[in-house]
Symmetry: C2
Subunit: 140 residues, 2 copies
DNA sequence: CAACCAATTGGAATGATTCTAAGGTGCAAG
DNA sequence: CTTGCACCTTAGAATCATTCCAATTGGTTG
């Protein structure tokens, strides 16, 4: 059973909540993101999806990714000068970008710290999201 | 006296430290960044610089910005799907991106908090830099 | 002065993303 | 049902930001 099947109701649910349809393309794109959580680019997602659905177009992959983001099932990450990367991890987390390997790791963000970080904002600033990106090297 | 003049020695110093020349183009680009700290894009910097140095090319602006970044006099900020933006604020700070106005504000980052944030990293992760981006609306 | 390396320039090339127009799909009302 | 319509997908063109390239200019050093 594919991972997406386990999550299919979640996906269908979220899409329905936004008045959108649960199309096969959206299902496969989401499944691909869940299966290999290495923060792929749209092109990489396209390549993976194509393996099991050869007729899909790049434009559709962009559309599906955008849809998933708008449903809060996926978030985007941006490293300098690079293409957008996609992350299906819904828990609050930071990203560590390893300069040596080019890989990105999710770092769990304790709720208390998240609050503390938000507290540096002046009264009249209302943050809807916080993104924390580390850059450096991971030893080993 | 231009702002750059005040900082000219800083700039020349930093460039020299990296074995680079203090060219007029670099001076003007840096001056423009210091004068209006609104996180401009390369195109915006180009437009501003052109006003006082009409013969400069866009490629040179990109080159100068890259040089300033490599000297640690300027840092880059990235918001989703947008062009790179440049920031001459050297103090540790986060960025708040106002969705309503599209403007970006610097938020001072207390050193203690910065440490606390870094402390969520596992032992073997060595972060060279941390970037914190808030997104939301500023009331008023 | 000569030689050399650094820096600038304009234009071409690249890469990522968005746009557009045309065709397909599925639900809903009659 | 079956027709209409809004949603989706698709291919390819267009756009935007950035980088590359090759030629020229400029400054420094021997």
């Amino acid at each position: 059973m594919s991972i997406a099947t386990l999550q299919a109701d979640t996906l269908a649910q979220r899409l329905a909540d936004s008045g959108l349809r649960a199309t096969p393309q959206r299902g496969v794109v989401y499944d691909v993101l869940l299966r290999k959580r290495d923060h792929p680019t749209a092109d990489e997602v396209f390549a993976r999806v194509k393996a099991e659905r050869p007729t899909i177009s790049l434009a559709t992959v962009y559309n599906c990714l955008e849809t998933l983001v708008s449903c809060d099932l996926v978030r985007t990450v941006h490293f300098e000068r690079g293409p957008t990367r996609y992350c299906p991890n819904l828990r609050p987390h930071a990203h560590f970008h390893d300069e040596r390997t080019g890989k990105t790791h999710d770092i769990d963000l304790p709720p208390a710290l998240l609050e503390k970080v938000k507290s540096i904002l002046p009264e009249d600033y209302d943050a809807k999201s916080v993104e924390i990106i580390f850059r450096g090297k991971a030893r080993n």
